[in-house]
């Protein structure tokens, strides 16, 4: 601190800084505060670290990430990548992470669909529709997600009938207290042609969309983008599918006395978590959508009508693009919330990252610091990555002001 020469500086000169003690000089005081904070935080970190090292050596807990390659020795019910009890803790981590991403991504798709429907219904002039949507939003938003998860899991899915009394649904679906059993698609050798046709159709759709937009900007003429797009994305793969001799069959689950053979089993934990997350997040998305649509002033619609646009194009070309600009940022934070809330899986026993890694692995290894740091780092990475993408999107879509 350069307080030593402060008294000398004063003097009589008019241009000189006024003579003030250093604790009254905001700039120097700022440095002091910052140094103080730095020292305090530094000391806290140092004390915590040295205590932790002390405690860990006393409790004979290993440190470091060596446990990553040790044998896990526990089983995980739902796994999308190969995993056995002899696999390593690192493998268990990946299984949990994939499960988290699975439930989050499927949840985001369904929550968006349901949320947009409810949000638009909330703005409907139809009294009944409006009130039903309002009741949905209020009830769901004002009860804890954990309570809803427990309800779906314990009161609804666990109360489903036993395997031999399974509820048989058309198309080879069976529902019982061990989950939902679905036909498993079996892809024939020539199915790859269909995949390629789908990829080609998608690319064609995007190319046509670009061309149509350019054409509209140039001449003002609109093209049937949706119709042509549907044709490219659905009809072309379908044609190829039949041309290739229908290379897709289904392995339909077979109901036995105590078990179901074949098919794909969707675990009740997954269903409960997905149901809870979708229904809960949809209520919040509905409010986001409502606020976004209401943020577009009525004058915009009226001006569009005055220009002779019909209600359909008005919605497409005027209201929705402006509403989306308001909707997208809070919508992303709802997506992030859904992803973070998927960690409540631990309450219903769905093997997500938190349940597998921060639950079982932490209990087995006792290496709390490392395990919790890794888990938090994963969620932080997801959050920061999403914010980066959002900032990029916002800078592209932000209103360009004069």
């Amino acid at each position: 601190m350069s307080s030593v020469d402060a008294p000398k500086m004063g003097g009589t000169g008019g241009d000189e800084k006024p003579r003030v003690a250093f604790w009254n000089d905001p700039e120097k005081r700022g440095y002091l505060f910052q140094a103080l904070l730095f020292v305090v935080v530094g000391y806290l970190v140092y004390a915590a670290a040295s205590n932790a090292i002390d405690n860990l050596t006393k409790q004979k807990i290993a440190t470091g990430f060596g446990f990553w390659n040790n044998t896990a020795g526990f089983d995980i019910g739902q796994r999308l990548i190969p995993y056995e009890t002899t696999s390593s803790y690192g493998r268990a981590f990946w299984v949990g992470l994939v499960n988290t991403l699975l439930v989050a991504s499927i949840g985001i798709v369904f929550a968006t669909m349901l949320g947009f429907i409810i949000g638009v219904a909330r703005l409907s002039k139809n009294f009944l529709v409006n009130k039903l949507a309002a009741i949905y939003v209020e009830v769901i938003r004002n009860t804890p997600l954990l309570l809803q998860l427990l309800f779906w899991y314990n009161a609804v899915l666990k109360a489903l009938p036993e395997v031999r009394d399974s509820v048989a649904m058309p198309g080879g679906f069976f529902l019982n207290n061990r989950g939902l059993f679905m036909p498993e698609p079996v892809f024939g050798a020539s199915f790859s042609w269909v995949t390629w046709a789908l990829a080609a159709g998608l690319m064609g759709y995007f190319a046509y969309g670009r061309w149509a937009r350019k054409k509209q900007e140039r001449t003002g003429q609109q093209s049937p983008v949706l119709l042509v797009g549907l044709g490219l994305v659905i009809a072309v793969p379908l044609l190829v599918y039949f041309a290739a001799g229908q290379p897709l069959s289904f392995n339909i689950p077979d109901l036995g006395r105590f078990n179901i053979r074949g098919g794909v089993q969707v675990f009740p934990e997954f269903v409960a978590l997905l149901l809870g997350l979708v229904i809960y997040t949809a209520a919040f998305i509905a409010e986001v959508v409502r606020a976004g649509i209401q943020a577009v002033s009525k004058g915009q619609t009226e001006a569009a009508y005055a220009l002779g646009l019909r209600p359909g194009p008005t919605l497409d070309l005027v209201v929705i693009p402006q509403a989306m600009r308001v909707i997208i940022p809070p919508l992303t934070s709802q997506y992030l919330n859904l992803t973070k809330n998927s960690s409540l899986a631990v309450a219903v026993g769905y093997p997500d990252l938190v349940q597998v890694f921060m639950g079982t692995v932490l209990n087995q290894t006792g290496q709390a610091v490392e395990v919790i740091a890794i888990t938090m780092a994963v969620y932080l990475t997801i959050s920061l990555f999403t914010s980066l993408v959002m900032n990029w999107y916002n800078s592209r879509k932000a209103l360009v002001e004069r």
Binding site: N51, N126, A155, N341, L380, S383
Partner: protein
């Protein structure tokens, strides 16, 4: 109208008085018109109405039947609620009635439960004092709510030998009381901490800004569960081993820090909404930083963010349910424990327990949400001037 001219040219066919205002035609007012406008204005609207009516017709009666008409209200054990003649009755309210004390107090000693009741009353007084904007001496209310109430509650619930209150270990606390204690501590702690963090984030001092941003973004980027796990398993590691931290206190630290990061962002939005002239005006008056914040900036910034602050509190209140995952006996845990008790093993016990929990959480959260909405209306009226 110039009556003199009219009377001068008085003719039988000239109207002497303005015609009486006719009522609007019956097709535009009244319940029928309302129904047509709101339910049957167009073919697509009619379709919507039919679908919505079907949804309402299927869901609402079955809800009411389960919760009220088919419900079992009295009974001593599961016999009252099991299926009779193959008919499963509705909600088993007899179970809730018998266990309601357990839901509220947990394992708190029966003869000491008046202390919890007193805590509820004192807390209700504090909340009413803070929320009622025209209440007398709200400045004292602030001190009561933020300083007196926490101290009194601490000794009242935990015990104080010098007052003749026997100590009650936090392991015996439970139920709604724990939920309210945790939510209360979160509410009282998160606002000042959040304000400090928000000011830190907007500070011109780089080190302070850096630490604030790091803390806020870190906490907001991870799920609450991981923060609770961290508080539960890592806090004891970070402290010297002669200090043991109570399990409830660990959870309180976790929840408090978590809520304050979210509160910081809410307060920051309020600070950003203030026009720069307010800062410049305060500085021109010669106010220092803290004087400026205390007298000019924060009163205005906090006022416009009251609805958002209350919304954060709603989130905090719902989040307290996560405590059951780290083994704290909160309200939801009390329900979870009671519903699997064999004494009440009946088909609808679980659903009834969850329905009761949902109603309790809903009442608290909806109450807060209504207050936030009322504040929002008040503020928007004040803005329009």
């Amino acid at each position: 109208m110039n009556t003199q001219v009219v009377s001068a040219s008085s003719k039988a066919y000239v109207r002497q008085e303005p015609a009486a205002v006719l009522p609007p035609p019956g097709s535009l007012i009244g319940p029928l018109a309302w129904i047509r406008d709101n339910l049957f204005s167009s073919p697509s609207n009619i379709l919507l109405t039919v679908v919505a009516a079907a949804v309402a017709y299927i869901s609402i009666p079955s809800f009411l039947n389960f919760l009220i008409f088919d419900a079992v209200w009295t009974g001593a054990d599961r016999e009252a609620c099991i299926a009779k003649n193959g008919v499963v009755p509705g909600a088993c309210w007899a179970f809730v009635r018998e266990r309601v004390n357990f839901f509220i107090y947990g394992f708190y000693p029966v003869d000491q439960r008046w202390r919890v009741d007193l805590f509820f009353v004192l807390g209700a007084i504090g909340v009413a004092w803070m929320l009622w904007l025209k209440a007398p001496r709200r400045d004292i209310g602030m001190i009561y709510f933020l300083v007196v109430l926490p101290l009194v509650s601490y000794y009242l619930l935990g015990g104080a030998a010098w007052l003749g209150l026997p100590a009650v270990d936090t392991a015996r606390w439970g139920g709604l009381m724990v939920t309210l204690v945790v939510a209360g501590v979160g509410i009282v702690a998160s606002l000042p901490l959040g304000i400090l963090l928000a000011l830190g984030r907007r500070s011109k001092l780089p080190v302070i800004k850096f630490f604030s941003v790091m803390f806020i973004e870190f906490v907001r980027g991870v799920p609450l569960i991981t923060v609770l796990f961290m508080a539960n398993t890592m806090l004891p590691l970070f402290l010297p081993d002669n200090i043991t931290v109570d399990k409830l206190l660990r959870a309180l630290v976790g929840i408090g820090l978590f809520a304050s990061a979210y509160m910081a962002e809410v307060v920051r939005a309020g600070l950003q909404a203030l026009p720069k002239g307010q800062y410049e005006g305060a500085m021109a008056m010669g106010l220092g930083y803290w004087q400026m914040m205390r007298l000019i900036i924060l009163p205005q910034a906090l006022k416009v963010t009251i609805p958002n602050i209350v919304n954060t509190y709603i989130g905090l209140f719902k989040d307290t349910s996560l405590l059951l995952i780290v083994g704290i006996f909160d309200f939801l845990k009390a329900i979870e424990t009671a519903r699997i008790d064999p004494q009440w093993a009946a088909p609808t016990t679980s659903t009834t327990g969850y329905a009761f929990a949902a109603i309790v959480y809903f009442l608290f959260c909806y109450g807060m949400a209504s207050y936030a909405r009322a504040m929002e209306r008040r503020l928007s009226v004040a803005d329009k001037r």
